[in-house]
Amino acid sequence: MFTFVLRRLLIAIPTLLVISFVIFFILDSAPNDPTGNLPLTIPPEVRQKIRDSLGLDQPMYVRYVKWLRQFLIYEPLNLLEENTGIKIGDSEGRLRIVSYATRSPVMELIAERMPQTLWVVGVAYLLGIIISIPIGVISAYRQYSIFDQVGTFVSLIGFSLPTFFTGLLMIIIFGVKLRWFPSVYDTTLVVKDWKTFVLQVKQMIMPVTVLTFFNASRLTRFLRSSMLDNLNMDYVRTARAKGQKEQVVVWGHVLRNSLIPVVTLIALGIPGIFGGAIITEQIFRVNGLGQLLIIAIQGADIPLVQTLTFIFAVLIVFFNIIADVAYGFLDPRIRYS
C-alpha cells in the first residue's frame, strides 16, 4: 500500500511538470502582448521598458523555470511564514508571482477568493452527497416503482440540463418574479449578527441549489446502478438466509459495498466541481475563484491565469490519487503490489 501511494505520487510529479509546461507554452506562444491593453498614447520605448520589467525579454525556458521556482518554492515558504511565523531564508527579497493587472501577489488574490468558492461549492457538494444516498438506495431497492421512475427521470434532467440554464431559470423564477432571494450575490456582506447571517444564507440558496441539483443527480444515477449490481450478489442472499433484518441487509451490507465506486466518483468529481463553479459563479456573480479566472483571462493577466489553471491541474491529479488509494482502502479485493 505504502509503495503504491509512493509510486503514484512519484508519477504525479512528471505529469504535473508536463502540464505546467503545456499551460506555460500555450500562454507564452500566444500572439498576445501584456501591454496591448494599455492606452495607445504610451510611446514604444516605454512599452518596451514595461515588457522588460515584466521579465519578458528573457527566453521562454528561463521564465518557465523562474515561474516554477516561484510557485513551488517561494510561495509555499511565504504561506508557511504567514501562518506560523517561521522565517526561512531571505523572506523580503523573494520574488513573488505578481499579477499584471493589479500588481499584487497572485497568491493573495487567490487566498482572498478561496473562501467564497469553498463555501458555495463545498456546501453544494456535501448536500449533493447527502441527498443522493437515500434516493439512490430506495430507487435501486424498489426498481421500476413510481419512486424509482420519478427519481431516475428527475436525476436525468438534473444531469442533462446545463447549470447555466437551471441557474438563469432560478433567477427568473425566484429572483425576478417571486423576489424571494437576491439575484446578485452581495460580495461585500460580512456575517456579524443574525440578520446578516440570514442574508448570507438567502443569497447562497440559489447557487447552492443549482450545484446541488447537478451533483445529486450525477451521484444518484451512479449509486443506483451500483446498488443494482450489488443487490443480486450472493452475499446478499447469504445475509438474508442467516436471518438478517432487511434494513440491515440493504443499508448495511449492500450500501456499504455499493458506496465503494461512488466514493471514487466523489473524489474524482471534486476538481471538476471547481470547473463547474466557474459557470455558476458567473451566473450569480459570486466573487470566487471561477470569477477571478474569467477576469484574469479577459484582462490577459498571464501570471494569474497560469497559476490558477495549474492549481486546477494539481487538484485533478491529487484527487485522482486519493480516488485510487480510497478504492484500494475500501475494497479488500483490490491489493496493490
Binding site: T15, L16, V18, I19, V22, I23, I26, L27, A30, P31, N32, L156, I157, F159, S160, L161, P162, F164, F165, L168, L169, I171, I172, V176, K177, S183, P271, G275, I278, I279, Q282, I283, L293, I294, I297, Q298, A300, V305, L308, T309, F312, A313, I316, V317, N320
Partner: protein
C-alpha cells in the same frame, strides 16, 4: 457470389434486430423523435420563417411573444425565433463536427494502443495527461489568446468556428480512446483474430476488417453522448462570453445576451435554454437505447 448475398442478408437482419431492441426503449424512441424534429426545424425553419435574424426593428424591441414574433424580440428588435433557428444550426454543427474530431482521435488512439502493445504505454500516458488537464480553463484561455489570429486567417465567422470546433474535439477524445482500447484488448484475444492472422492477414487488415467492426458499437454510443457534451461545452464557452461573438448567434450566445434582460423579457432565456436541454436529454436517452440495442447480450436475452 453466394457468400455476399448471405452476408447482406445477415446484415439486414442484424440491423432489424438492433432496431427491434431499440424501439422497445420508449425513452430512446421519444428522444430520437425530438432530436430529429429539432434538427429538421433548424435546417428547414429558415425556408418557412423568412425573417432575417439580423433585421433590426427598434419600434418593436423587447417584446414578448406576438403573432408577428412568436418568440418575442430582443433589445434591438430582432426576431428571436429567427435567431434561435440560426443559432441552432451553428450549435448543432459545432456539436457534430467537434464530435467527429473527438471520435476520430479517440478511435485511432484506442485502436493503436489496444493493438500494438509497444504503443500502449506511451499513448495511455498521453491519455492520462489529457485527463489531468483542467479543460474548461484551458479552453477559455486558448480561445481568448488565439481567436484574433484565427479570425485574421479564416475570416471572422469561419475562424472562430474552426477554433472552437477543433479545441473541443482535441480535448474530449480521452473517454472514447479508453473504451476503444479496452474493447480492442478483449477482441484481440478472440479466435477470429488469431484465425485471420494465421491466414496471413497483416496488422492493418486485421485492425480495419476484423477489430474495428467489432468495437463499433461503443464508438457509436460515445459519439451520441459526445455530441451532447460538445454542444454543452460550446454553450458554456459562449455563455461565459468567450465563445462565439454576438454577431454569430449560437444557443449559448443567445443565453449570454439574454441574461442581461432577464427582468424585461424572461422568455428570451427560456428558448435557447430549452433547445440545449432538449437536445442533450434526447441524445442521452438515444445513447441509452443504443447501448442496450447494440449489446448482443441484452438483445438475445429478450
Amino acid at each position: 457470389m453466394s457468400t455476399t448475398t448471405n452476408n447482406q442478408q445477415k446484415e439486414y437482419s442484424y440491423l432489424a434486430d438492433v432496431w427491434k431492441q431499440f424501439s422497445k426503449h420508449k425513452g430512446a424512441v421519444v428522444g430520437m423523435l425530438i432530436f430529429f424534429t429539432i434538427i429538421l426545424t433548424t435546417m428547414l425553419g429558415p425556408f418557412v420563417w423568412r425573417i432575417d435574424p439580423d433585421a433590426k426593428d427598434l419600434k418593436h424591441r423587447n417584446e414578448g411573444p406576438t403573432i408577428t414574433h412568436p418568440f418575442g424580440t430582443d433589445n434591438l428588435g430582432r426576431d428571436m425565433l429567427a435567431a434561435n433557428l440560426a443559432g441552432g444550426r451553428i450549435s448543432l454543427s459545432v456539436g457534430l463536427i467537434a464530435m467527429v474530431i473527438s471520435i476520430l482521435i479517440g478511435t485511432v488512439i484506442g485502436l493503436l494502443s489496444g493493438y500494438f502493445s509497444w504503443l500502449d504505454g506511451p499513448l495511455m500516458r498521453l491519455t492520462d495527461l489529457f485527463l489531468a488537464l483542467p479543460i474548461l480553463p484551458l479552453l477559455l484561455v486558448i480561445i481568448m489568446l488565439y481567436r484574433d489570429t484565427l479570425r485574421g486567417i479564416f475570416g471572422p465567422e469561419l475562424g472562430i468556428f474552426i477554433l472552437i470546433v477543433s479545441i473541443i474535439g482535441v480535448t474530449s477524445w480521452m473517454n472514447t480512446a479508453r473504451i476503444v482500447r479496452g474493447d480492442v484488448l478483449a477482441a484481440k484475444e478472440q479466435e477470429y483474430v488469431t484465425a485471420a492472422s494465421a491466414l496471413g492477414s497483416g496488422g492493418q487488415r486485421i485492425i480495419w476488417k476484423h477489430i474495428l467492426p467489432n468495437v463499433s458499437s461503443p464508438i457509436l454510443v460515445s459519439a451520441a453522448l459526445g455530441m451532447a457534451s460538445a454542444i454543452i461545452t460550446e454553450s458554456a464557452l459562449s455563455f461565459l462570453g468567450l465563445g462565439f461573438p454576438s454577431d454569430i448567434p449560437t444557443w449559448g450566445r443567445l443565453l449570454f445576451d439574454a441574461k442581461d434582460f432577464m427582468s424585461l423579457t424572461p422568455l428570451r432565456v427560456v428558448w435557447p435554454g430549452m433547445a440545449i436541454s432538449l437536445i442533450v436529454l434526447s441524445v442521452t436517452y438515444m445513447g441509452d437505447g443504443l447501448r442496450d440495442a447494440l449489446d448482443p447480450k441484452i438483445r438475445s436475452s429478450k
